[in-house]
Subunit: 211 residues, 2 copies
């Protein structure tokens, strides 16, 4: 054991300590899920008494909710950043589908799924979930609308289609969470499905350059 020296924690500025706590919460959530976000768990990771965590947070529901938002918003930003480097709507939508199914973000997916059920009993979290879903939907919708404008796609209700694609991606990811074996060609099949939905020519959604 190298990390239970039982010393008194060094005194830090409130801003610094608060940052430590939210960071510890982020790590715990990614490793063990939102359910593992307990006062004692977070405190132990920071190396601090449990009361201190409570002192920096109004209550645990709030910490769970904000931790969810932090993790998920970071992912949205990251992927949206990748998107902007692609030339046209078809490439962007292809990259989107491909990136989101590459299984490199299963930890975030697990948090999404957990949040869906925890949200039933944690209203701040539920609000956060809706907010973050809206953000994702907007990402999809703007790509679909771009494609509509250029004529690459042909969609009458781009908002609805965006919701639909988002839901499909979420479902396939959740499935991968439980059945990590399963299917390999998920990206290709989903691309074909999305092509059908946006009215694009089959095969027009190109995947990323591979990694």
């Amino acid at each position: 054991m190298s990390s239970t020296p039982q010393k008194r924690a060094v005194r830090k500025s409130p801003a610094e300590r608060a940052a430590e706590i939210t960071e510890a919460a982020r790590e715990i959530a990614l490793e063990a899920g939102l359910t593992a976000l307990t006062l004692r768990n977070v405190a132990a990771r920071v190396g601090v008494a449990s009361g201190l965590v409570a002192h920096y947070q109004p209550n645990m529901d709030a910490l769970v909710s904000s931790t969810f938002a932090t993790i998920v918003a970071a992912e949205t930003q990251e992927v949206a950043g990748l998107l902007s480097q692609r030339p046209g709507p078809s490439e962007r939508l292809g990259l989107l589908v491909d990136t989101l199914l590459d299984n490199s973000r299963l930890d975030v997916t697990a948090i999404w799924v957990e949040a869906w059920t925890l949200g039933r009993r944690n209203e701040p979290l539920a609000a956060s979930v809706r907010e973050q879903m809206d953000a994702w939907q907007k990402v999809f919708q703007s790509v679909v609308e771009d494609g509509n404008a250029t004529g690459a796609f042909n969609v009458s209700d781009s908002a609805a289609v965006a919701w639909q694609i988002l839901g499909m991606v979420d479902g396939l990811n959740a499935q991968a969470l439980v059945r990590w074996d399963g299917v390999n060609d998920r990206g290709t099949h989903l691309a074909r499905a999305v092509e059908g939905m946006v009215g694009a020519a089959p095969g027009s959604l190109v995947a990323g350059p591979g990694s």
Copy 2:
């Protein structure tokens, strides 16, 4: 209050009592989720001491797992039954998509989503989840294969496509769990997506006769 008479429970045969317990567990899970399946909760519903529930179950993980299986298997059977009344693969696939998105089974969806995360820490449940997912996948796969045989569809890997459709349906349902408002035309859009995936003509997947 009409239901806390504090009398001693009438003595029943083990089979009967066991049935009461599993039935109570089913109801609780549908109303309040798998997390609400506690010894005391189930016991209160049956009108019995908590110890008795423990006496009839090896442990709570097992009760959670079997309750999940009961609820979900019943749904699979029910929908599979509806399917058999439809003439061809296109009608069957259309009905499948349409029925699963009609929001009349959101309670079951909630249980699915909960099981996905609880399965991470409850191995019997995880096994049950995989089993029930396989059952659903088989339902989809047999429809896809039928369509392949009649020429209505054109799919090279029907198992993969079946997984894919299942995942998409699950995702859209999970979405409806949180964003019950959202989109209305889900069935139509998904139908178009599925048509793209199975290589069917656009519009060939007909919905149910409406209800």
